[in-house]
Amino acid sequence: MFVHLQGSWNPIYGRLSLHEIPFKTQIIQGAFFFVVLTALAVLTAITYYKKWRYLWEEWLTSLDHKKIGVMYIVLGLVMLFRGFIDAVMIRSQQVMAIGPHSAGYLGALHGYLPPYHFDQIYSSHGTIMILFAITPILTGLMAIMVPLQIGARDLAFPYLNALTFYLTAAGAALVMVSLFVGDFSHAGWVGLIPLTELPYSPDVGTDYWMWAVQLSGIGSTLSSVNLIATIIKMRAPGMGWNEVPIFTWTALSTSVIGVTAFPVLSAALFMLAADRYLGTHFFTASFGGDLMFYTDLFWIWGHPEVYFVVLPAFGIISEVIPTFSEKALFGYTSMAVAALAIAGLSWMVWLHHFFTMGAGPGVNLFYGAATMLVGVPTGVKAFNWALTLYRGRLRFDAPMLWCLGAYALLLIGGLSGIMLAMPAVDYSVHNSAFLIAHFHSFMLLITFAAIAGYQFWFPKVFGFYLDDGAGRKAFWFFSAGTLAVFGSLYALGFMGMTRRLDYIPFVQWRPPLIAAEVGIFFYCVASYYLVRQLYVGLRDRKTRPAGADPWATTRSLEWLTWSPVPAYNYPVLPVVHGRDEWAWRREHEYVDRVPDHYFDIVMPKNTSVPLLLGALSFGLGFGLVWRIWWLCAVTIAGILLVVIIRSFDNHTEHTLSAALVAKLDGGEGGLPDAPGSVNPYPSPMPVPFFAKTGAVSRCADRVASTLREGVVAPGPLGKGARR
């Protein structure tokens, strides 16, 4: 076509051929069988339990923000697992391939991974962990909690919410497919330029990376649009900006970053795509291109992206710590201002990712100082949390422990971050293991906080508790792993080890590398306990139902509604009187969750269009990767057509009558077993997929009985009970 391609191309299959499937590589064979067997097991289970219809109607086509949020989190957890396997492989290769006398297996000279295979693994590790694990998990938490926290029925654009989820999922699917068809990028998650240009990455790996990131990036931009519009327009009556819960504040700051930063990434990737597909010269070293311009654009997105994921994590910590300290958050205004300040400053610091570029000392000094300034609002947050703990009554349930771990990591990561912000110091440790340890401190802070958020809000969303003991064990092992792996990497940084080495040339780096491998073992144990926590929670769900206020000292609005949350969130929108509305009501003893009147509720109907658009986007991405132009044309036409056809559907909403809501909610004497309460869209979160519900019509009963359980079983303080 426009550019010189190594290898063959034909109009029907593009660059694709049987030879592209790396079935000769044993590791990929293993991964392939694992994935296929898992997929088969899941599909068989769904078929055996006849859950296809349930899956389709209750999840895949649902526009309920809670369900989409849960799907986001499930996607994130699956990708987290994949990214974790990558991490295990990276650490194992590094511990095996030390020094010229180390043995080689499976065709590698040292260790068990040949260079380009190793490079793909660390590239996919970074890409997956940041964009397809942490981002979806946090986006999912925001999609679930923000409407609940501000007293809305859903996000502002439920249909867009589903669409952004499926765009992210399509990106994740591209990454997964790259494992078995062709290969993934070997140029790092940042797309090191000009390594990503066609002459140095002649394979399809970079294309997979590029289009996967592009799809998820567009998804993130649009989900940020959705969250901002929701927070600005959909707050419950009485909720001024001073009453907005702190997690929502951080969600707003994050979304501001998302809506402004992600498009820059899109632009950079479009230009890179033009270079690779049309032979333009945006980022080439030759013909007037400017390769550092890519680096600039990437980090103009990349640095705000760090805060894009860290701010919701801060929000989670700010919600969990007050709950388990049994007092209000210290310095609410400071916290909100700090969140916005971090979002604002995030735009001023990107150059610190390449202090070594050779910019003048003045430029480096400026960006170094700006970077240190980010430490100010971050420090404010740390002080505020410490003061929230002060004079509290601290309980150490699992979520609290994870938050305290995140707090410690914030201080460690912040310390090393400020060290790196000094250009002269950065010259010696840039691109070293020290840098890796620094940003993993922050990434793990986010992971700690995300796990805390998951454990904290799980009973709210699903109506039963996770196992606390397993959660705490997981915390201790996870912390031990973090300490071993990243303590070692900090040390290795000072020993001079650089990042992305598939072969370790110096044997003196072995002891810390072994310590890091031990840490990986701790992580494995921690993962076991996390799975066990969920398993025990599911097993004992009948015996351990969570009340509407499962932690008894919760504060913000989301704890006002039932656990599990009904499809419509609130039967009648609550009026907000204070900053921590539920704490306010508890203090003033207005703890009745059943309103005395009802209105009709308008809910969006289920639709399969977002799923279809996601599938078409995946097809488009696949066609672009392999340069199958007819597939690209067909999918683009398909996307346009589907969007247009959907725009002609004016019946996308459905009204629940006030009487029906009253029945479902258990008010106005209409107690739950009211016959004939057939409601097409009633099912709240709880119905776990092995629950005994088949047809949709039975869902209503399920809702009703769950709600009744919630009503009858008093919360830990007895405040959940209806008078």
Partner: protein
């Protein structure tokens, strides 16, 4: 305010059956989308500045030898006139007159299509002269800006067609109204961006 007073004034549960303003929310959402799109434009304008030096032309053509501002002048007139026509169409919406809306939308569409045709013609003429984006970083950045804008215009024209059909079929259903208003934002935004594109690419080397 004590709890009792607050409750007496506002109650615990919403009594007014609050409904969120659908058109307002969609408009806000669309503004936010435009913010994100303008970031893409900003990056592309950044590219045309960063890659706008003589060195980036790599010995190839640049400035006035590439693009002639006069043809773009006619394009400008067409696009701004199209915006005006669409503004008049929205006057029809205000008065609730379907025929007026449809008539002015047709005019706006035709003017916009004229713009698109001229754009395509300019690009084809450039390619015929061998001035393609593969020549240099300078041309890559300049032409990317023009093509990205042209893509928006193309999508906008499709949107026009769809909306004309929807106005004809559904009349002024709320869904149609908010889409018409968003189309207004979109179309004016593209006109605005065009003014910048015109200044950055066509006038550079001529006037600036």
């Amino acid at each position: 305010m004590s709890g009792q007073e607050a409750i007496r004034e506002q109650g615990l549960w919403d009594r007014k059956d609050v409904h969120h303003d659908k058109i307002g929310t969609h408009t806000l959402g669309f503004w936010l989308y435009m913010l994100s799109d303008s970031m893409v434009y900003a990056a592309l304008f950044g590219a045309s500045v960063v890659l706008g030096h003589r060195m980036n032309a790599a010995g190839g053509p640049m400035g006035a030898t590439v693009l002639h501002p006069l043809s773009a002048y006619w394009e400008t007139l067409l696009l701004l006139a199209s915006g005006l026509a669409y503004g008049l169409a929205l006057q029809g919406l205000k008065r609730g007159r379907k025929a007026l809306v449809l008539a002015w939308m047709t005019v706006a569409f035709l003017l916009g299509a004229g713009f698109a045709a001229l754009s395509v013609h300019t690009l084809l003429a450039l390619i015929a002269r061998g001035i393609t984006p593969e020549r240099s970083g300078y041309l890559s950045a300049d032409l990317a800006l023009i093509v990205y804008h042209a893509l928006h215009i193309g999508l906008g024209l499709v949107w026009f067609l769809v909306m004309m059909v929807q106005v004809a079929v559904f009349g002024f259903h709320p869904n149609v109204v908010y889409r018409l208003l968003n189309l207004k934002l979109f179309w004016f935004f593209q006109s605005f961006v065009w003014v910048l594109v015109f200044s950055f690419t066509y006038l550079r080397g001529v006037l600036i």
